[in-house]
């Protein structure tokens, strides 16, 4: 039959594509485009071509969301920093102020660190109303206090009208990695389970609706929440947890691709197991988007040994932010570097890195 004859030729092409895919991305552009900020390969190419060569050192070269520094006595200091430029600044379920606190706390949590303190730096555009700034700062204060992490220093700058869009916030977080915790992609093993702390896509869809340019009305609130307590509960229950990441920009799909690339293993997700709210899947269906690529701001993806999967789920469900936690997939050595989804009736498809973010400035 003609189709069977193709198999070899097709596999040769696929092997060529895979090896091409693993090449370090090259920066081809002369100007910055929105694609460089979208968390895909364009962003990686910018990092590799411009940012990393300038600062290269062993800690930075790991290119994690934060850095871990040995500070004596066996103590490990975790540091992370993040800029927030979301538009609109307020949406159902939160504001740029909530994101600035929770986003940074969650980066620390994903490193296995207990947050100690935050810094907040504001860039304000001439013309921003003080009333709005007060509301944003109140959100920062409330979120920090709810998380039990103080804001200990900061900075404020003002730029001319048109030089920024209202208000940008940069937060830096410091904390200490829990003793005995060693989270690393290198620790991930085939057959490990992927545990997700809850529903996906809420934040991205809430921001989409708030933008109002989609003529969409859906009752979806951003999931922005601090996850350090959830991680604490998880690490208490499953000290053998291998790897953690909060799937923000680019969604669970991009996080799984990072995992596959960093571990040199494959990831297989089960489409039917992925928890998605009806309103979110409905909005995605209408807009032709895949909830797997939609941003979250209050979810944690954990890789744990398969035997600990149920314990991990129960530990997360014990926390408010993890009420819908479940196992969503597994690690495999069958297709290294690739993320596959098993579809509702047994077909498979590849889930690759995001190209061309449909919604820039989502956090």
């Amino acid at each position: 039959m003609p189709f069977e004859d193709d198999l070899e030729a097709r596999q040769a092409v696929l092997a060529r594509v895979e090896s091409w895919r693993r090449r370090a991305p090259k920066l081809a552009d002369d100007t910055i485009t929105m694609a460089h900020g979208a968390g895909g390969r364009a962003g990686q190419s910018l990092l590799e071509a411009v940012i990393r060569p300038a600062f290269s050192n062993p800690v930075l070269d790991a290119l994690d969301d934060g850095a871990v520094l040995e500070v004596g006595d066996g103590r490990r200091l975790a540091v992370t920093t993040d800029a927030f430029v979301v538009t609109p600044r307020r949406f159902n379920g939160g504001s740029i102020g909530d994101l600035a606190v929770n986003g940074t706390i969650n980066d620390l949590a994903a490193m296995g660190a207990e947050p100690v303190a935050l810094t907040v730096s504001l860039v304000l555009e001439e013309g921003l109303e003080v009333e709005e700034l007060r509301a944003i700062v109140d959100d920062v204060a409330r979120a920090a206090s709810a998380a039990g992490v103080p804001v200990v220093t900061g900075d404020t700058k003002v730029v001319e009208r048109g030089a920024a869009d209202g208000c940008y916030i940069t937060t830096t977080g410091v904390g200490f990695v829990r003793p005995g915790t060693h989270l690393a992609a290198a620790a991930v093993r085939p057959s490990d389970a992927l545990v997700l702390s809850g529903m996906i896509g809420d934040h991205g869809v809430a921001v989409m609706v708030a933008r109002g340019d989609l003529a969409l009305a859906a009752d979806v609130a951003s999931d922005t929440a601090p996850l350090h307590q959830l991680v604490s509960a998880l690490l208490d229950a499953v000290p053998a947890t291998r790897w953690l990441r909060d799937p923000t920009r680019g969604g669970v799909a991009s996080t799984c691709n990072e995992l596959a690339a960093a571990s040199g293993l494959g990831v297989e997700l089960d489409e039917r197991a992925l928890p998605v709210r009806g309103a979110v899947s409905g909005a995605c269906e209408l807009l032709g988007l895949d909830p797997l690529y939609i941003a979250n701001e209050g979810k944690m993806l954990a890789v744990v040994p398969a035997t600990d999967a149920e314990t991990a789920v129960q530990a997360m469900r014990g926390c408010e932010a993890g009420a819908d936690a479940c196992v969503v997939g597994a690690v495999t050595d069958e297709h290294p570097g690739l993320v596959l989804v098993r579809t509702g009736f047994g077909g498979t498809r590849i889930v690759d890195m995001l190209v061309g973010d449909p919604l820039p400035r989502i956090c």
């Binding site: 030729a9 696929l14 060529r16 594509v17 297709h335 579809t343």
Partner: protein, 379 residues
């Protein structure tokens, strides 16, 4: 989700797959073309290719509206977007389509005001909110999206919005279908007919496919169960020695189509004598231009554009892919020089493009195909 979940029901899919396996076992290998990019997308998105018996091959057709836009038209759109005071509105897919010089995304980075909209009416509303800007809507698509552009033109005229215009690239589905059927060495056993296009034009316009060319055609919906059922209907026609137009997508498609939408098209557009299709060349009477009564809202009359025909890059084999003569992975640059991030050809840009769909979703299916197929045979 009502009207979605029942068409993604694994049980129904399993029953259909068993019937398909049974029907296929009694026939020679079959090649069916799905005309519509939406079908291509759904086939890969749900992993349908990996579930079908190996003797059935789905060939991807020309029905991806972004894929068929020639490079010269992209250059024209970039020229309009760069004109003084212009805000260009387009669907997101169009941003990354390469022209001869640049993409709209690159033009945006250089300072052009380019915005993504989800409907032409959003562009019209933008024009009304910004009377000091000239808002241009970049219209692409088959008869599916053309009625919404027509409605927008009508509203622009009614509300006298004179800072709004449309750069029209609407195309029609029947001429390229004919072009494919006329191409030498045609090796297709049947067609999965367009779904959304047929909600507008109905199924009657496809009668020439069985009538003149002796190939069965089944219009199909976009959910996995729709597509599987349409494949089964094609197999049964071939088994019974029938050759006709059948309609699987009855819940929205009728024989006559949507009369109101067709009237709108007649009112707002005229058929162009010819139009260039990416990879397929010039096809007579295959596209729509804005009707003379709406000339004030026609961006082609309002702005100077290069209007130059730009030859496709040598390495790019989009034309062969669009005609179904080449499978996406058989193109020389597939997945290496041409990827969704750095597309050379249009088929790699839109999520409905055969190459992008195959690259994003299907690359691995060759390995899973064999065991899943065996399971299908047992069923």
């Amino acid at each position: 989700m009502k009207y979605v979940d029942e068409f993604r029901d694994p049980e129904a899919a399993r029953r259909l797959l068993a019937d398909i396996a049974e029907a296929a076992a009694e026939q020679p290998p079959r090649k069916f073309m799905e005309v519509c990019g939406g079908h291509t997308h759904a086939i890969y998105r749900h992993g349908i290719e990996s579930l079908l018996p190996a003797s059935i091959e789905l060939i991807h057709g020309p029905g991806c509206p972004v894929c068929v836009i020639p490079m010269g038209r992209v250059d024209d759109a970039v020229a309009v977007a760069c004109a003084d005071g212009v805000t260009m509105c387009c669907f997101g897919d169009m941003l990354r389509v390469p022209g001869g010089d640049s993409t709209l995304l690159e033009a945006k980075a250089r300072g052009a005001d380019v915005r993504i909209v989800y409907s032409p009416l959003d562009a019209l509303a933008l024009a009304e909110r910004n009377p000091d800007r000239q808002v241009v809507f970049l219209a692409v698509g088959f008869e599916t999206t053309a009625p919404s552009t027509a409605v927008t033109l009508l509203q622009a005229r009614e509300r006298k919005v004179d800072n709004f215009s449309v750069f029209c690239n609407h195309v029609t589905i029947v001429p390229p279908l004919k072009a494919i059927l006329d191409s030498p060495g045609l090796d297709l056993d049947g067609f999965l007919g367009p779904g959304h296009v047929s909600t507008v034009i109905g199924t009657h316009p496809y009668r020439f496919v069985p009538g003149q060319y002796g190939r069965p055609l089944v219009t199909a919906g976009f959910e996995p169960v729709d597509i599987l059922q349409a494949v089964l209907m094609l197999l049964r026609q071939l088994a019974d020695g029938r050759c006709e137009v059948e309609n699987q997508y009855r819940r929205v498609v009728s024989g006559e189509g949507n009369r109101r939408a067709l009237e709108l098209l007649k009112e707002a557009f005229v058929v162009r004598p010819h139009f260039e299709w990416r990879g397929l060349g010039f096809i007579a009477q295959s596209a729509l231009a804005i009707a003379p009564e709406f000339a004030p809202w026609d961006a082609e009359l309002r702005y100077e554009v290069p209007g130059v025909r730009v030859a496709d890059p040598k390495a790019c084999q989009c034309g062969e892919v669009l005609k179904g003569a080449l499978r996406p992975w058989e193109c020389k640059v597939f997945g290496t020089a041409c990827t969704p991030e750095t597309p050379i050809g249009t088929c790699m840009v839109s999520s409905e493009g055969a190459c992008a769909a195959y690259y994003n979703y299907g690359r691995y299916s060759s390995r899973s195909r064999i065991p899943v197929h065996a399971a299908g045979e047992r069923g």
